[in-house]
């Protein structure tokens, strides 16, 4: 049978208050999400802005506390833990951020940035240790003495990765790791991440809006829409046979190089911010297959075949 999940999220809920003009609205960024991460099985979370994926990522690394639900690390409930109780967790789970510049302290040189993390793990790094980390991410030795502003975006992101790895984490949550980089650099970083998967034995949770970057790195994908998971399936299955209408729209909207991927699928109107329906299925206002039940009842996530879950009334019949 399967080993227990490394990290488990159950019924996670997170709300924010948003003030626009004079009006205050309560937004449910993450709405009752369940997620299991198993070591060795990298996972992708795909969603657009407003889907809640970044918030979910932060909750996963305990940068944010959920308003409801539980987080289990191994067998331990760490939802309410703080400070020293999280030491093991912090050593095992790291995060890589979207903006390579802002994720490095601009006042510190590369070697100090990496050494800083070593010290947080109560280890004293030697110069060799630092250089080894740099080599791991294919950076030259002379980068060690540079400041972040002297590096290019791609180099900075490599430093961020080298730094995260110095703690020997088992899981790395990467939030849009290549979106802020130039196109020709993106694939370099993606390939680096793929190489490290094998070399350093890390499992990834890759959060992104660019579904095309996922097949290279993850075995399983969760699709998020307006705070909920609407579909989850193994990577190839999701891409070749998407079931949820949103997933289908998403996949057909991705521009492809091999001629137009005009699958004839209608592009859903509006966008998440203005068209999220409440009281039933959140995708109701944009779904070409919407039925009466979709308007009033929110579909729950059901397993339709091995490893594939969908929240859609169409498949519940």
């Amino acid at each position: 049978m399967r080993s227990p999940p490394f990290l488990s999220l159950r019924n996670i809920v997170k709300r924010f208050t948003k003030v626009v003009g004079g009006q205050t609205t309560l937004i449910t960024a993450v709405d009752n999400v369940n997620l299991d991460i198993f070591l060795g099985q990298s996972v992708g979370i795909i969603g657009e802005s407003g889907s809640g994926k970044t918030t979910l990522g932060k909750i996963m690394v305990k940068l944010l506390d959920p308003d409801g639900g539980t987080i289990s690390f191994g067998q331990k409930d760490i939802t309410r833990l703080k400070g020293s109780g999280l030491r093991d967790f912090r050593a095992s789970v790291q995060m890589i951020f979207q903006d390579p510049y802002s994720s490095l302290d601009p006042k510190m040189r590369v070697k100090d940035l990496i050494a800083d993390f070593y010290r947080l793990a109560n280890k004293k790094p030697t110069r060799e240790d630092i250089l080894r980390q740099l080599e791991l991410v294919s950076l030259d030795q002379d980068v060690a003495d540079k400041f972040p502003h002297e590096l290019s975006g791609g180099q900075r992101q490599r430093v961020a990765i080298a730094r995260a790895l110095s703690l020997n984490p088992k899981l790395i949550v990467a939030d849009e790791p290549v979106s802020a980089l130039d196109v020709s650099i993106r694939s370099q970083i993606l390939q680096l991440l793929a190489k490290l998967q094998g070399q350093a034995g890390v499992t990834y949770v890759l959060i992104t809006h660019d579904i095309a970057t996922l097949p290279l790195l993850v075995d399983y994908i969760y699709v998020m829409y307006a705070g909920s998971i609407v579909e989850s399936a193994p990577t190839r299955t999701l891409i070749d046979r998407p079931l949820h209408p949103y997933t289908k729209a998403l996949i057909s909207a991705v521009p492809d190089l091999d001629g137009n991927r005009e699958s004839g699928l209608p592009i859903p109107p509006g966008d998440v911010e203005e068209a999220t329906h409440s009281g039933g299925c959140k995708y109701y206002g944009r779904c070409p297959y919407a039925m009466a039940v979709c308007r009033d009842v929110e579909p729950s996530l059901r397993t339709v075949e091995k490893g594939v879950m969908v929240a859609c009334h169409l498949l519940n019949r």
Partner: protein, 315 residues
Amino acid sequence: MLEIRNLSVTYPDGTPALQNLSISLGTREVLGIIGESGSGKSTLALAIMRLLPPDANVKGEIIYNGKDILRLSKSELERVRGTEIAMIFQDALSAFDPLMRVGPQIVEKAVTNKTLGYKEARARAIDLMRGLGVTNPEARFDAYPHELSGGLRQRAFIAMGLFQKPKIIILDEPTSALDVITQAQLIQTIRGLKEGGLSMIFITHDIALASTICDRVAVLYAGKMMEYGSVHQVIHRPIHPYTQGLIESTPTLTSVRRGLKAMKGYLPNLKSLPGGCRFHPRCPFATDICRSVDPELAELSDGRLVACHMAADSK
């Protein structure tokens, strides 16, 4: 419609942003400018609109309607900008005055020029927005920029650009800040505009996106054009190693089968370009001549232009 001849732009600090660029835009055509940061693509857009800093060194000609835009007088330029050639760029939020409602900003220029009365202007703007796919355009007209979502704002921005019925519209990364589905919506809208007779220059870093909407494309690298031809030629059968590299390293849903290949090296610093062909440090085919001589754009038998020593040989 628009012909750019030997355009070179050097910024006051000496950075050579564009070198000797020559392209042309036909009627009802979407010309794609593909490039990454430092390629010069935005500089090109700013040069056409004459929005570069006054102390930038600009050489060459940009011919529109028989006249060189770079040499137009201030009043002629005012007339051309916005009314004949319009520009949309990436960040719609900063394009709008946050303290004014969106509608008045869309019609502003026409109303101040007294070409239209406010009532008619408003009606036209609302029609325009509806045609662009804006839901509930009457309400949107009176909305403030921050009240609109990204996609709506971008459409309002396009409405502002189209309002005076320009002949040419330059779109600089119009969809970069938007999600995939909104992007697809916008592309559909842009396709409609093309069918309606508009000529467009579509600037992007996303080569796959360019392939869905452009007729011809120019690939820029570090200020110089590397390849120029139809989408069918350049994107489906690329010859320049940079174009090939871009395509091979762009992750798409089919790229797993194709195999994702990363381009080695970094984008060069414009102030210290490598000698010879500026792409040679990253080129898998570089030879001695590439390291010493900067290749000229040469026409190949299929009509496209390529700046590559290796390509010239395979003519």
